[in-house]
Symmetry: C3
């Protein structure tokens, strides 16, 4: 409200303000990313449920509408790069759900948990690289110091035959 | 307490009251469902742990006592309908644990998270239909607007050889 | 502050004090356990994220540094006892991360959730025994009445080819 006045009394705050990081919505625009239409349930569940300051999202898949854009397993039908793209699309779907629920990504204080289920063969060793397709996107938008905790599982199958499903728990303002 | 009086001042509230939905316990009775005996741990863990307003349940299996009532995988030993029944039984066990811990299902404000692990072959595509065996039961009891967020994984094996294990996180009053 | 004085007015409290259980850090020393160096991320994520009173850890593996100390699956390359040792090492890594983040294990009020992902063959039935390798350690340190809720999944692959990955959600003071 009174930047010059607060300047005098809180120099640290001001110096932070001058280096102010872009908000998640601003960053999304900088990156030229348009979020897809948020997915809708294909069963008896909700895409997002809030409890206190935590927002729990349903498993996010690399879909458009109810159609899988990627089908197959890492180490078999898929290489790492394709897996990364699938993970990125699933994360974009998660952000679309969050924005629809919250009104703006700027309401997200932090992504607390990112769980990554990857359909793989038993000899897959590339999980972290594939999962980074989702993690790198989130880091680009929210910043490195807001990175989530991460779980990875190599599973045998996922809904619609997709190679990746994401678990997301967000802390909201 | 004073329905006529509050009628005059809060018509919306009263109109909601006249269409009042049955509570979870009332709904269970309407549906003629008797909850099974709650499962007990077969290892060094607790069936339910509360932190703040969240109640975390252990993985719920389609068991009676420590015996699996269903053994096998979807897409191999099991068809969709049998998988649905297994998912439903696991959900009933979860409700039994919740009632034992809380005293009444009416203390549940919402099921925040339903995770469904299904033992499947790699070509399974029926996950949502099978998972709905649990989700439909919860929707019947708690109502559609209280549906949980949902995660699904197709896994290679589960404890006791069961085809389904449920993760449940509840918000409690 | 004034033990004799409070002695007179709160005998129950005092009697509990005389039978006082060791703290988690004291118990660790009694057991002669030295925690390993906490693991560091090998991707775009954080090892621990706090939201309110919950501390979410990333998936804990049986590693030293970024190297897997166990590689293989239960029921194939591994017997139960080796799986238990792997689960125990992963739990020690989780405690190391928690201590680094919190300063002391005594800040942990309870482990709310222990998720155990085990790389298995499809006919594995030993999940609970293997998972107890982690659970028994936690029970030894925090006490039986603080046992966590537990989820188990038999997965097809895990990062670095390890046989076990742990999910940990802690309630902190």
């Amino acid at each position: 409200m009174q930047p010059e006045a607060s300047n005098a009394t809180t120099p640290a705050r001001n110096s932070r303000a001058t280096r102010k990081l872009p908000s998640a919505e601003e960053r999304l625009e900088e990156l030229g990313i348009q979020l897809p239409s948020p997915p809708t349930p294909f069963g008896s569940y909700a895409e997002a449920v809030r409890s206190g300051n935590l927002l729990f999202l349903s498993g996010m898949l690399p879909t458009e509408g109810h159609t899988a854009k990627f089908v197959g397993r890492a180490g078999a039908e898929f290489d790492v790069e394709t897996g990364r793209q699938a993970a990125r699309l699933a994360a974009l779907n998660g952000l679309a759900v969050a924005r629809e629920y919250l009104g703006s990504l700027d309401k997200i204080k932090r992504i607390v948990r990112l769980g990554v289920s990857l359909a793989t063969t038993e000899d897959c060793r590339e999980h972290p690289k594939i999962a980074d397709g989702a993690s790198d996107l989130l880091q680009d938008i929210f910043g490195k110091d807001k990175n989530p905790s991460r779980l990875i599982n190599g599973v045998v199958s996922l809904p619609l035959g997709t190679p990746v499903a994401l678990e997301l728990i967000l802390e909201v303002a």
